[in-house]
């Protein structure tokens, strides 16, 4: 028989315990709010105003009207005109999503009815970021240039008087695996490094072995390194596994230097380990450590540009995203793996990681106590 009183006794006890652990309650309430907020406001799978470098051919009225029309579609935001080389660099570094190159004698060819081609190069490493923009440009109104055209050419065209050649750079077949692989490397490393380190140190505290460890002649840095190094090895094994499978099964190219990639990811691993260690100095038990880990990982996945295009997010979300190691790791891996980035191209993604390690690591070490005080 189920006793009503015993049930109530149990219920009462559970509520009491729940009240003693406000962190868990806060988290269970905050989690859906954060998700709702991020999904509702921050995440926009239809990114607009994508930065586009303009490599100008002839500065003609036609060119101005064309870029104006594209800008009006709200998918493109033009930068320039700039030189070809600069534009290539901006695309490689991820500063621009597109490069629009207008040929030098654009106006003359149009006037002669020769249908010149403009070239739109797209950074296709994240296919979902460019899909709608590309649709917008191919659906461009054939009469867009009518106002400027000589009368003879204006008569009800079925096609615009020029061609748009789209070149999906680095991922011509538009494969999502190209985006998933860097994303997976990043998220898996984030998850395992942060949670595992946080738990490894908290476990010592929870089981009481920390007191013993502190009573013995070992320095905090020695404890930290001793705990972390095994997981760095684990991290690199994870990376290797993903890279091998990505190359063999999904045919993801490896265009850049593998060494640079591994070094850059080393920095990323260090960033995550410093977060894990910082959490372990704050968490009182393993459950709290786990909760903090989840709290860090969720925004990382949502705001880094892995699940949803980074440029689709409002400014405030992008600001948060810029502070997360995963954001930079994603750019780093995409850049090196898919675009063949060199050290110079990768530098803008490396220094934020280094800064992160420095700041968070300093906080962790400051919080770590050599005594039980």
């Amino acid at each position: 028989m189920i006793s009503w009183k015993r049930f109530l006794a149990m219920l009462h006890k559970e509520f009491l315990q729940m009240r003693r652990d406000p962190g868990t309650i806060a988290l269970t309430l905050a989690m859906p709010l954060v998700q709702l907020f991020l999904f509702g406001f921050a995440i926009n799978a239809d990114p607009k105003f994508l930065p586009t470098s303009l490599v100008s051919g002839d500065h003609s009225a036609y060119e101005r009207t064309l870029t104006q029309a594209l800008a009006n579609s709200t998918y493109f935001r033009f930068h320039g005109p700039i030189g070809e080389e600069d534009a290539a660099k901006r695309l490689a570094r991820g500063d621009a999503q597109f490069t629009l190159t207008v040929p030098p004698d654009f106006a003359r060819q149009i006037d002669r009815g020769e249908r010149p081609s403009v070239l739109l190069e797209a950074d296709a490493t994240d296919p979902s970021a460019i899909g709608n923009a590309l649709a917008a440009i191919t659906a461009i109104n054939p009469t867009v240039l009518n106002r400027d055209l000589p009368d003879v050419l204006r008569a009800a065209p079925v096609k615009p008087p020029f061609d748009v050649v789209v070149q999906r750079k680095w991922n011509p077949e538009n494969l999502t695996a190209y985006n998933i692989v860097p994303g997976l490397i990043g998220t898996i490393l984030t998850f395992s490094m942060v949670v595992v380190t946080a738990l490894a140190v908290t476990r010592e505290r929870e089981r009481g072995t920390m007191e013993n460890l502190l009573a013995m002649p070992i320095r905090p840095l020695e404890v930290m390194l001793g705990k972390i190094v095994p997981y760095i090895v684990v991290g690199y094994v994870q990376i290797s596994l993903i890279l091998v499978i990505a190359a063999l099964v999904f045919g993801v190219p490896m265009r850049g230097s593998l060494l640079l990639l591994l070094l850059g990811l080393g920095l990323f691993i260090a960033a995550n380990l410093s977060v894990g260690f910082a959490f372990s100095t704050l968490a009182r038990n393993q459950l709290q450590a786990m909760q903090m880990g989840v709290f860090f990982i969720l925004p990382s996945i949502l705001l880094s540009g892995f699940l949803f295009p980074f440029r689709g997010m409002p400014d405030w979300a992008q600001w948060i995203g810029e502070m997360l190691p995963l954001t930079h790791a994603l750019r780093l891996v995409r850049g090196i793996l898919l675009k063949g980035n060199t050290l110079a191209d990768a530098a803008p993604h490396l220094w934020p990681l280094a800064l992160f390690v420095f700041v968070v690591g300093a906080i962790a070490i400051r919080n770590y106590r050599e005594t039980l005080d």
Partner: protein, 312 residues
């Protein structure tokens, strides 16, 4: 006595947690080679004091040395010369006995590691259990392993925090034989305990109440310093008499020892007066007796809080 003969020499130690003072103005000197028993009710500050002595907690006030090393400034050096056995078992339960010892030996960089470990296993009778997981050992064996790990680096000062709590009497006895053996070799031991028989085996006893040192000295000195008078009542009527006596003026503690009742107070005449109603009863015999160490501690416990009922 010169300072170098003192293994522990601390003055006016104090420790707060938040705004709660847990240890207050504690001055303690323990000569080299002595076994010092640390007594006091739960929460009286024993563990906190021990942690300050080995540099695990920084005192808010006071200063002093252990083994001539400053407890504040030389904490790291102190750690190499002190063995600290925590109140709660704090070695790795998912490592075997031998693996735990090896970890400790590596941390202390003990020369001839394997030999040192094997000798220690042998000495502690742990050879048969060397490959057992520490988590699967029973209480007594766990304590032994912890002790082995604490003395592996041959400390000069051993701090033991309730090392025999929850250990059976035989294992306790063996544990203490070991401690005496080591003290004979010049090791200084500070050991906290709740057991009277263990307190009696110490060269010196220190009693804490509410973070303050109340008495210290040899067992005889502590008994003499307490200035209490104790009467022993036996007979069928004592159980019911105990209730009456507990509230009687002048009686500060009433404790049952098996069939007998020990009644103590600092004012001899007041206790005698309170006991008068029992004198004539034929189911109770009352006689004055020498207070034992236990009577003294029950009295101290009662004095530090309210009157306590105590069954030994």
């Amino acid at each position: 006595m010169t300072d170098t003969d003192l293994a522990i020499d601390v003055r006016h130690l104090a420790k707060r947690f938040g705004d709660r003072k847990v240890v207050k103005d504690l001055t303690l000197q323990v000569p080299v080679g002595q076994i010092c028993g640390f007594l006091g009710a739960n929460g009286s500050g024993k563990t906190t004091t021990i942690r300050m002595l080995c540099g695990l907690l920084t005192p808010d006030d006071g200063e002093g040395t252990c083994l001539g090393l400053d407890v504040r400034r030389d904490a790291m050096k102190l750690r190499t010369q002190v063995g600290y056995m925590t109140q709660k078992f704090s070695f790795y339960e998912d490592l075997t006995v031998a693996e735990n010892l090896e970890f400790v030996a590596r941390l202390y960089d003990i020369p001839n590691r394997d030999r040192a470990i094997n000798e220690m296993l042998d000495r502690m009778g742990l050879v048969d259990r060397a490959d057992q997981l520490a988590g699967q050992l029973s209480g007594g064996w766990k304590q032994r392993m912890a002790l082995a790990a604490c003395i592996l680096h041959q400390p000069k000062l051993l701090l033991l925090d309730e090392p025999t709590a929850g250990v059976d009497p035989k294992a306790r006895r063996e544990f203490w034989d070991l401690i005496h053996e080591m003290a004979a070799d010049g090791l200084t031991v500070l050991v906290s305990t709740h057991y009277m028989d263990e307190a009696e085996r110490c060269h010196r006893i220190v009693y804490l109440a509410d973070g303050r040192l109340i008495v210290q000295g040899s067992a005889e000195e502590v008994v003499a310093q307490a200035h209490i008078s104790t009467w022993r009542a036996t007979g069928h009527g004592v159980v019911e008499a105990a209730k009456l006596l507990r509230d009687a003026p002048g009686i500060e503690s009433v404790a049952a020892f098996g069939q007998a009742l020990h009644v103590s107070g600092t004012d001899r005449d007041a206790v005698a007066h309170a006991l008068e109603p029992l004198q004539g009863r034929d189911d109770i015999t009352v006689e004055e007796t020498e207070p034992t160490l236990e009577d003294v501690f029950i009295h101290l416990l009662a004095a530090s809080g309210t009157k306590t009922e105590h069954a030994a």
